[in-house]
Symmetry: C2
Subunit: 200 residues, 2 copies
Amino acid sequence: MDTRTRIIVAAMELFWEKGFNSTSVADILSRSQVNSGSLYHFFPGKQDVLIGVLEAYRDGIGEMLLAPAWDGVADPIEKIFALLARYRRHIVETDCVYGCPIGSLALELHEPDPVVRALLAANFANWTAAVEARLVEAAERLPADLDRKALAEFVLTAMEGAVMQARTHRDVAYFDRMVAMLRAHFAMLTARRRAGLAPA
Amino acid sequence: MDTRTRIIVAAMELFWEKGFNSTSVADILSRSQVNSGSLYHFFPGKQDVLIGVLEAYRDGIGEMLLAPAWDGVADPIEKIFALLARYRRHIVETDCVYGCPIGSLALELHEPDPVVRALLAANFANWTAAVEARLVEAAERLPADLDRKALAEFVLTAMEGAVMQARTHRDVAYFDRMVAMLRAHFAMLTARRRAGLAPA
DNA sequence: GTCTATAAAAGGATAGAC
DNA sequence: GTCTATCCTTTTATAGAC
């Protein structure tokens, strides 16, 4: 693994574990086994390392997140819940300290520069686009007048909020209850489609 | 206003504007017009100022948040949406940089000490308890088998997630679409109650 | 309880040889 | 591209007079 990549990987881990502000450049150097001079050769400053990390998340969403989550799952709506199940696994495996790396950075950085903010937004947009595509695949089971973009975003916001609650309360049950509510929401939508009713 | 209160108020504002880690003790001293010696007379350290801030939020939820939001609103379900409208106003008034002060701290602090974590959890618990109480008031319009605690938490998680999205994209529309989805959810629940159907 | 001065450490970033 | 040494600023916290 080349030096630049080692730095990005180390920073990715550290920003996720401790946040951006609580991670020092010394932390990154120590974990990546790189010297100060090398890091500043590749990156003008700490903020540019963050940009590299956010680009890596953006470019890796398919391979790192979606593909593993959807392995062996064919049904489009089940793919959405399989994605949520992936987050549940992260929560359990970290004893409920898991935080979505993008969501945590989005709330930690109060005055991000435009490039950073755009990358955070792009990461969220890719996530919802992937969910929205599954809703399009399942179109015949959902109400014809459904706002698919809004529902895809709703899944993301519910996931982010639930991760926050599970983490704060140190209890996966908060995440599970969110999933149950979303399941109920989808059940009511498909019921509405089957009944051929006008919008509720 | 006494010194201790001035410190808490200044810190409350600063933690909300810049976050905990990005606020220095010097920032708090400057805004509150207090000297170093006085601050450390009242608080052992910066973290204890945070504890004071979280206690103030916890003790002030009724007066600072719920009462203003519910002024002139009688219907229990509308009170829930009036609370969300309050957040919408904050978002608009801050040009979409608004972040929920508790939610932001919950994600920024990756290894909070037990007292801080418990206070964050207590703040969330009070919020959902207030929503849950409105759901109890509206019980006759909702399905009998509804998990009211889960729905109250769902409202909180959706709000937190939507505030995150609106802020990251710098666009209230993300918040508005979440509210529309929640409205649809409530509409489907009340329709289910009126139809007297079994759980979807 | 409040004031000023300052200690002690950590942080981001740079210099310059190799 | 990599190495070591180091500068400079910021930050939390303390000392001790009043």
